[in-house]
Amino acid sequence: MLEARDLAALRGDRRLFSGLDFAVEAGDLLQVAGHNGSGKTTLLRMLAGLIVPEQGMILWQGQPLRTQREDYARDLFYFGHLPGLKDEFNGVENLRFASELAGTLVTAGEAAGALARFGLEGFEDLPAKVLSQGQKRRVALARLLLSEARLWVLDEPFTALDVSAIDVLRAILQQHLVRGGMLVMTSHQDVAVTHSGRVKQLRLGR
């Protein structure tokens, strides 16, 4: 279970949010909403442990993050604004190296399967450099299929995806929730990820 207690973020002179309390349990989706600049990305990076909160604390399974950084990292999948692909590697290589560094060994077949699921058959051998914006994000998102993390933290995962890719991603997210995973995400696009009713809304900003 992921819990935030009295969380606050201060950027420059601006108090982005404060006194934030929430809990995400197995099977929960926490949808962080808010206008541009309301602090969504800041919150998600805090949850990933990349920013130390100004005030308040974040607990994972009841323990504060900083006491268990590596265990927490094993349970976490964070996806930020940047896809994290190497221009020189093709899709399969990118997936395999990224997964292995994140702690999971993946075979070439599994990686190719994940790419295929995202509609990238035939593009496996192209270096990421030549892929279009949307194709790059597809490759990066294919890591979701190879991840065993329980908590997914996704910052605007639907950006730059076309309609068919959005459908695929939604199905994957649904499946993760059904299996009892947790999901924290932001999106300006109105995509209904799940109808299970276990959706929590968090509104930042005025």
């Binding site: 990349l50 094993r74 964070y78 940047l82 994290g84 190497k86 994140a102």
Partner: protein, 227 residues
Amino acid sequence: MKRTGTLGAMRCMLVRDLTLAVRRLSDVLTTLFFFVIVVSLFPLGVGPDLDVLRSIAPGVVWVAALLASMLALGRLYSSDYNDGTLEQLLVAPQPLSLLVLAKVAAHWLISGAPLVVLAPLLGMLLGMPADALQTLCWSLLLGTPVMSLIGAVGAALTLGLRGGNVLVALLVLPLYIPVLIFGAGAVEAGMSGLGADAHLSLLGALLLLALCCAPWAAAAALRISME
């Protein structure tokens, strides 16, 4: 799907960076050429008198190696930073310092080791005697990894800052100076008949020190820079 441990991740990091280097072979070669070109600038600036050249040769080769390995630092994290991989490394379940160590090892193999191999050739062109060439090799073999390690800290601190590559020079050069003094000193001592051993063992000590502290400091610097 199988879990991997820290050693596996380090190996993966090393393999990944070396594979990347092979794909971008021109990167590796350009560090080398830079080294060669800097050395060959000196006779042009200073004049072709071989006696003068021989006497400044150890210093010139060492300064050139230092500049080449400093320039190569720009590439240590920058591509990982720009494409978001570095962020992923920070949230990876392995100790960041060990991943950084693997990264530095790959970086040294790519940009430091070739310098060691090429240095004797350049020394010869500047008229250095044969046994001095050998000392030169040894001193570089001990010195270049130290420079890579120190550089890893400097590069981490300046990550994402504008003008980072000049700033890193500023941070890192003062720390390189002991390495330069002992390194060039070793060769000069060898050339003037005094033993080079004292200098070399000091270099070795620097290497050990850097191996213990630098990865840890670089990891901390990375966390700060990425906040």
